[in-house]
């Protein structure tokens, strides 16, 4: 009988595996477990066995019955699941929106992070300034022709909207003294046209590094590393003499056009070079205006426009796009 039970077990497994629908399963259940089913048949035949074999075979028979019951139950729930109407899983998921940063923030953050990595801290200053901080302390006396380079919006006789971030140099040196090393990002205001390449409102990033031995060579080294960080290792830089009242010597830094690799294109006006920032060694008169001895300290300063950097980096042809905040523009930055 044990042999027979083994064969029966195999038969049950095959049958249950092969069943396709709940009706077939019910028929199998009646056939195996019903009152006149096979299991009951085996139990009936149990009485005919020798007394000493009965408990052993009875136990096996009970285990088999339990196994068939549980297999049927699990098959039943499997078949039930298959009954649920089919859903197209390729339909789109349910989700919210994710926002977008203004590209100016991306560029400003990247610049801040670069200089912080170089050992700079970050400082801020007011947007409403006095003539002293915006001009005189920076070696720009009244009626100096260089005031034209920074033509300002006035709120009163002495109050104006800062026309560059350089006043932060004065404020921070007054507050913290030297040595010092920081950058100062923020909006500045200039009386200028508002068209594709000019804006009366823009973001500037000022840098100042003062110590006893900071030289023009460090100015070149740090700003060259900056240019390569922002525009890629293959970018070349050049420094040309320039003029700012608060630096001497003064320079302008140009980079090889990253768009055409210096071959000449519309963006660089076919020159292959793009001017990106002004810089120089801090003028001794600036140190004097904050009571620092220019014979003991020297340093460099620079100022750059965030829009200009972003326009080159992302090939944006119109400065007004930054302030329109059109979603079709912002959608492209993440």
């Amino acid at each position: 009988m044990l042999e027979e039970l083994k064969r029966f077990e195999a038969e049950v497994d095959t049958a249950l595996k092969g069943v396709k629908d709940p009706e077939g399963l019910e028929q199998l259940r009646l056939r195996f477990l019903g009152r006149k089913g096979r299991i009951n048949e085996f139990f009936k035949r149990l009485g005919r066995l020798p007394v000493e074999e009965r408990p052993k075979v009875g136990k096996i028979l009970n285990q088999l019955k339990a196994r068939i019951e549980s297999t049927i139950a699990s098959r039943r729930s499997e078949l039930k699941e298959q009954e649920v109407p089919r859903i197209d899983l390729t339909l789109p998921g349910r989700m919210g929106w994710v926002g977008h940063p203004n590209p100016l923030s991306l560029v400003i953050d990247e610049i801040i992070d670069f200089f912080v990595g170089l050992g700079f801290t970050v400082e801020f200053g007011p947007e409403i300034e006095t003539d002293w901080y915006n001009f005189e302390a920076l070696n720009i006396p009244p009626y100096h022709p260089s005031r034209e380079m920074f033509s300002s919006f006035y709120l009163g006789d002495e109050l104006l909207l800062r026309s560059h971030t350089s006043p932060v140099q004065i404020r921070v040196m007054e507050r913290k003294g030297v040595p010092i090393r920081f950058i100062a990002p923020g909006p500045v205001y200039r009386v200028d046209k508002f068209d594709a390449t000019h804006s009366p409102f823009f973001y500037q990033i000022e840098g100042l590094y003062v110590d006893q031995e900071v030289s023009f060579a460090e100015l070149k080294g740090d700003l060259e590393a900056f240019a390569k960080h922002i525009f890629g290792e293959s970018v070349r830089v050049r420094f040309f003499p320039s003029y700012f009242p608060f630096t001497e010597p003064s320079a302008e830094m140009s980079i090889s056009c990253p768009i055409c690799q210096g071959k000449g294109c519309r963006v660089c006006g076919d020159s292959g070079w793009l001017e990106i920032l002004g810089c120089g060694m801090v003028h001794p008169n600036v140190f004097k205006s904050v009571g620092i001895d220019p014979d003991r300290y020297q340093g460099y300063a620079f100022g750059l426009g965030a829009e200009r950097i972003a326009m080159i980096k992302y090939i944006i042809g119109d400065i007004r796009l930054f302030y329109e905040n059109d979603f079709r523009f912002l959608d492209q930055f993440r």
């Binding site: 339909l91 789109p92 349910r94 989700m95 919210g96 994710v98 926002g99 977008h100 940063p101 203004n102 801040i112 200089f115 050992g119 801290t121 970050v122 400082e123 801020f124 947007e127 409403i128 009626y143 022709p145 034209e148 919006f153 006035y154 709120l155 009163g156 040595p179 090393r181 205001y189 009386v191 200028d192 508002f194 009366p200 973001y203 590094y209 110590d211 031995e213 030289s215 023009f216 060579a217 460090e218 080294g221 740090d222 590393a225 420094f239 040309f240 003499p241 320039s242 003029y243 001497e248 010597p249 060694m281 020297q298 930054f322 302030y323 905040n325 059109d326 979603f327 079709r328 912002l330």
Partner: protein
């Protein structure tokens, strides 16, 4: 400044254009562009024979010699044999038109004689151009005249370079090749005329030369062509010479008609109420600010800026007073700024002119003027040459290069400094024209320019300081990334707005900009709402009605002695809260969804508890409140007034809040980990019926107080009005979560606490506990929000 390459080359014969364009930027002069003004296929020609056209009246047939013989038919008048003219040959482009061979009744004309009008120098010309007799026929126009005009950017410190001489001096210092500057010498004439100077501070040097028997006519063509391409309109031979000398030497000159001057002249400040009619026929009122040249009767010129009509040179002029002077740059600038007069003379004087130049320039001009020089007066304060003493080692330290004393001396000598050594220091005597050189750092720049910026090495700095991002910036960055994560667009907006916007939004008088660019940017904003509504409007017009935007920026308030400026966060929402989905789920932004954003960022970024206080605010409809933090008003929140949105053509509701970040993002401490509680939370729900005028925020606050430290969280999970609730009342259901720190709470303890809370609320708010408390069971949940 515009400057012709050919003129430069007269002083620097070895120079090529490419070399010039390479050197100028290295010296600090940015090249804006090079304009080619040359004309191809135009040649100098000499008239050999003139005959009338056999069949056409008024036309002449000319036989000309140039590189070969030509025959030209012309209608020009007053031609004589041996006249030198400019002949445009077939193929030449004149005023955009190509010259061809034309047939005039059987006679072929092989070109055209050019007039000044055809070259654009004057609007109307009387006849064809006559070249000076010494010009040989058969020379191409482009070999005779200026063709390459370099547009240079000259920084305001280099007034000395606003001339051919100035730029050529700079180039000569680096090329060290042939340099033949104009020969300059002081005049040797008898003394006179009478000149007075009121204040030598205003006018440190004034020279006047009297020239008699002058003849004023038309300038020769080459001078006119040259002036025209340096931005100066040719006037007459005399005025043209003064301008020509200014372009060459950088010294502005002015000629007065001496017969129109009454008495001697005096350089003095104008008296209030004095007037002058300038050469451009403008009447200008003067005052004590203005320095003038005056005769006995009154002003004849605004010193260094513009001459007066009264003593104007014209073709009848016979005697002149030629002025060559040095004026105080600041005084000149006050005049050009104050009177808004921009002249080439004013531009040079306000940048500072060479103190040594006035007599030399006068003499140079006199040599060009047809007439008899009579007398010369030179009034000046004693001339002191500047000396700069410097440490040559410091120059090397400043530039980061090892440079020897000898090289520094060589460089400075090339720039016409005289250098002496005094006790290991060098003393440089500065050329009279370099008004920009005052100290050691100026010397460093001179050395660097000639040494070459390119040759200075690049070294990454090694600072001892560690770079840090300040807390306030870290907070702003966190805020930005949370909002972007929540689906918001970050906007950057102008802080100036229009007066109209201030009025529309009802946000006060604003801070007035005294010299606004235009009517769009007249005031500094006092709220971020106008900025964000403009962004809304831009995108709405493009069909984006689902809007989630924020901006962080300055907001200003009028105050004394200066306006206040504060960093604000502004946020605007409207439309759907998530993209349309096939399942049909859809929510739209409303006041409470916006408030949820505010609460969420407050929970993340501030330490204080957020409160809302109803308050009618002009820019809001329906929902309008102030945001209160720690008892202070820090912002506003509400639904934007339909009256405002309608102005932008917007029909749907949009919601806005703004907060003062200075007060909102309070300094957060570094987190210190507190072991989280290991004992189970207990939740109890309590529902009260209260008067609908009572604010939920006050009840929550009271429950927190009553619950004490064990009460971890209170939320409102149901609000109900209607069936079963008396009119004017509302049912509010609160879920309280108790979190013991030290042991498991017993049932009697929980019961005692909830009873204390419910009776307290009933008493304080005249509320009625609605149901018996419901035990929602102990949970094994240790996580979740702990507030």
């Amino acid at each position: 400044m515009r400057l012709s390459f050919e003129w430069l080359k007269e002083l620097l014969p070895d120079l090529s254009l490419d070399q010039t364009l390479d050197l100028l930027p290295r010296l600090g002069f940015g090249v804006e562009e090079v304009i080619d003004v040359g004309i191809d296929r135009v040649i100098s020609a000499r008239i050999k024979k003139i005959t009338p056209h056999p069949r056409r009246e008024g036309l002449l047939v000319l036989e000309l010699r140039a590189d070969q013989d030509y025959r030209v038919v012309t209608g020009a008048k007053n031609l004589s044999p041996d006249d030198n003219v400019l002949l445009a040959l077939p193929g030449a482009l004149i005023k955009g038109r190509e010259i061809g061979v034309e047939d005039f009744d059987g006679i072929k004309s092989e070109g055209m004689l050019l007039s000044e009008a055809e070259l654009g120098i004057v609007d109307e010309a009387e006849g064809v151009i006559r070249l000076p007799p010494k010009v040989e026929p058969g020379q191409w126009f482009n070999d005779l005249f200026d063709t390459k005009i370099i547009d240079l950017e000259i920084t305001p410190n280099r007034g000395d370079c606003e001339s051919i001489l100035g730029i050529s001096r700079e180039l000569a210092a680096v090329t060290r090749g042939n340099f033949s500057p104009p020969k300059l010498r002081p005049p040797r004439l008898k003394s006179g005329p009478r000149i007075g100077i009121e204040d030598p501070d205003d006018c440190p040097r004034y020279t006047g030369m009297v020239i008699e028997g002058v003849e004023v006519g038309d300038s020769p063509f080459p001078i006119k062509w040259r002036l025209f391409h340096h931005g100066i309109r040719p006037i007459n031979s005399l005025v043209d010479i003064t301008n020509y000398v200014m372009l060459l030497l950088g010294q502005p000159l002015h000629a007065f008609d001496l017969d129109r001057i009454r008495g001697g002249i005096r350089v003095r400040r104008a008296r209030d109420g004095e007037e002058i009619v300038t050469l451009d026929r403008t009447r200008i009122g003067l005052n004590r600010e203005h320095l003038i040249i005056a005769d006995r009767e009154g002003p004849v010129a605004i010193a260094g800026v513009i001459g007066g009509m009264k003593a104007e040179i014209d073709r009848s002029t016979r005697r002149i007073l030629l002025e060559s002077a040095t004026f105080n740059p600041e005084v000149v600038r006050r005049a050009t700024r104050g009177l808004l007069i921009d002249t080439q003379s004013g531009r040079r004087f306000e940048r500072g002119c060479d103190f040594a130049m006035p007599p030399l320039a006068a003499e140079y001009a006199q040599r060009m003027i047809k007439g008899r020089p009579e007398s010369f007066t030179d009034l000046k304060v004693p001339l002191r040459r500047k000396r700069v003493s410097f440490d040559p080692k410091r120059i090397g330290r400043y530039l980061g290069i090892p440079i020897k004393k000898r090289e520094i001396t060589t460089i400075l000598s090339a720039l016409n400094f005289r250098v002496r050594e005094v006790n290991h220091r060098l003393v440089a005597t500065v050329p009279s024209y370099r008004r920009d050189i005052d100290s050691e750092c100026d010397i460093a720049e001179e050395v660097a320019r000639i040494y070459g910026y390119d040759r200075i090495p690049s070294r990454l700095s090694r600072g001892a300081q560690v770079g840090t991002i300040p807390q306030e910036l870290r907070m702003i960055r966190r805020l930005r990334s949370i909002l972007i994560g929540l689906g918001f667009y970050e906007c950057r907006c102008f802080t100036p707005i229009s007066k109209d916007a201030l009025e529309t939004f009802g946000i006060g008088p604003g801070v007035v900009i005294k010299n606004p660019l235009n009517e769009r940017f007249t005031h500094l904003r006092t709220s971020l709402a106008p900025s964000l509504v403009e962004v809304l409007s831009t995108n709405y017009r493009n069909g984006n009605l689902d809007v989630r935007i924020f901006t962080i920026g300055k907001v200003f308030q009028p105050d004394s002695p200066r306006p206040k400026e504060e960093d604000f966060l502004g946020l605007l929402v409207g439309g759907r809260t998530s993209p349309p989905h096939w399942s049909g789920d859809e929510r739209r932004w409303d006041f409470f969804s916006l408030k949820g954003v505010l609460e969420l960022i407050a929970r993340h970024l501030t330490a204080e508890e957020l409160q809302i206080a109803d308050d009618p605010i002009p820019m809001f409809d329906h929902y309008s409140a102030r945001i209160v933090l720690g008892g202070k008003k820090v912002g506003i929140i509400g639904q934007l007034a339909q009256r405002i949105l309608t102005r932008f053509g917007i029909k749907e509701p949009y919601y806005f809040f703004e907060v003062d970040l200075g007060r909102f993002l309070l300094r957060m401490e570094e987190p210190i980990y507190i072991p989280y509680p290991r004992f189970p939370k207990v939740r109890r729900d309590l529902a009260f019926i209260v008067d609908e005028s009572i604010s939920a925020q006050d009840i929550i606050k009271a429950i927190r107080q009553l619950g004490g430290p064990l009460l971890a969280e209170v939320i409102i999970f149901d609000r109900y009005q209607g069936g079963g609730i008396p009119a004017g009342k509302v049912s509010l259901a609160f879920r309280l979560t108790f979190q013991p720190q030290e042991r498991t709470l017993t049932d009697p303890e929980i019961k005692e606490l909830t009873e204390k809370i419910s009776s307290g609320i009933e008493l304080r708010f005249r509320a009625k506990l609605r149901d018996k408390e419901v035990d929602v069971g102990r949970t094994q949940d240790f996580g979740g929000e702990d507030r």
